[in-house]
Symmetry: C2
Subunit: 201 residues, 2 copies
Amino acid sequence: MQTSPLLEALMEALRCLPGVGPKSAQRMVFHLLQRDRGGGMRLAQSLTRAMSEIGQCADCRTFTEQDICTICANPRRAQSRQICVVESPADIHAIEQTGQYAGRYFVLMGHLSPLDGIGPEDIGLGRLQERLAVENIAEVILATNPTVEGEATANYIAEMCAHHNVLASRIAHGVPMGGELEMVDGTTLSHSLAGRQPIKF
Amino acid sequence: MQTSPLLEALMEALRCLPGVGPKSAQRMVFHLLQRDRGGGMRLAQSLTRAMSEIGQCADCRTFTEQDICTICANPRRAQSRQICVVESPADIHAIEQTGQYAGRYFVLMGHLSPLDGIGPEDIGLGRLQERLAVENIAEVILATNPTVEGEATANYIAEMCAHHNVLASRIAHGVPMGGELEMVDGTTLSHSLAGRQPIKF
């Protein structure tokens, strides 16, 4: 775009967003300039505030602009004495949407990955250990991703909980709802067989 | 995202970009917060400057932060005495990349569309008429889109050129390069037959 260095700079800057290539950056720029300059200005303000003000909750490590996030600060959340350990703040969002969980969270912001040099301290397990020692916690629900790294991380934290005599549980692995059995992969199916539950009346 | 109103506001603001839904907005926010806060800040600055400083060239109506864009201001561009009429600034980019055209442009920022209330003045044809009257123009190349509205707009401008005794030409319609003939639609094929050219040795 020879006609405008600013326009070119904006197209380049938009490429920092995941999934935005040269063509979609161009489309975004022209859309904003032609139809939604107000939206573009609001986006710029939101970005500036979010990038500079959002930090991490001192208790659960999720993203928040306060010292303690609203979930950790809520006294009713503490009543259940449960902590759900997840890999990312997006997982909190997913679990909150089920409406099934009323306890607090702990966000690892990743998972153990010795090959990449990511050890227990990098995913905040020091802080979790402190909470296990200090707070009166009844159960730690391990909701890390069902991947090799997620499983390893869950096992590591379960051992930590055992040291503090805190019950650790892992979310169930099995057949997802609504699909067809023949489409489910073998590993999932064997997990769902091993984790079968008696039907209670 | 109950934990952070700022984060929620940013996710909502990102939705003003075309092709960004709730899931990709969430992905973008977490990517920026976790991995690229610097990129996010640069994007915010670029956006602010672009949205407030970019206007339209007084001659060709393309986006630029100057009064006259670099293409219109270039005296060598005026030598060919050609004006290429396109629907959007992105089309200038596409034509510039061919390296085949060294004249100036005129950007309509749309096309005639009486049903939507878009008439000649809305696409800047008053300014084009002025230029046809004042400047010494040899040819107007009509490069509007090969759609019904694009064709109608091209025809309208061609009549305007005829009034000013300026040659108007339309870019060729035909079979695109590199495809297979059997895959080409009937309308394109009949255009390519009607527009056939003698082979010169």
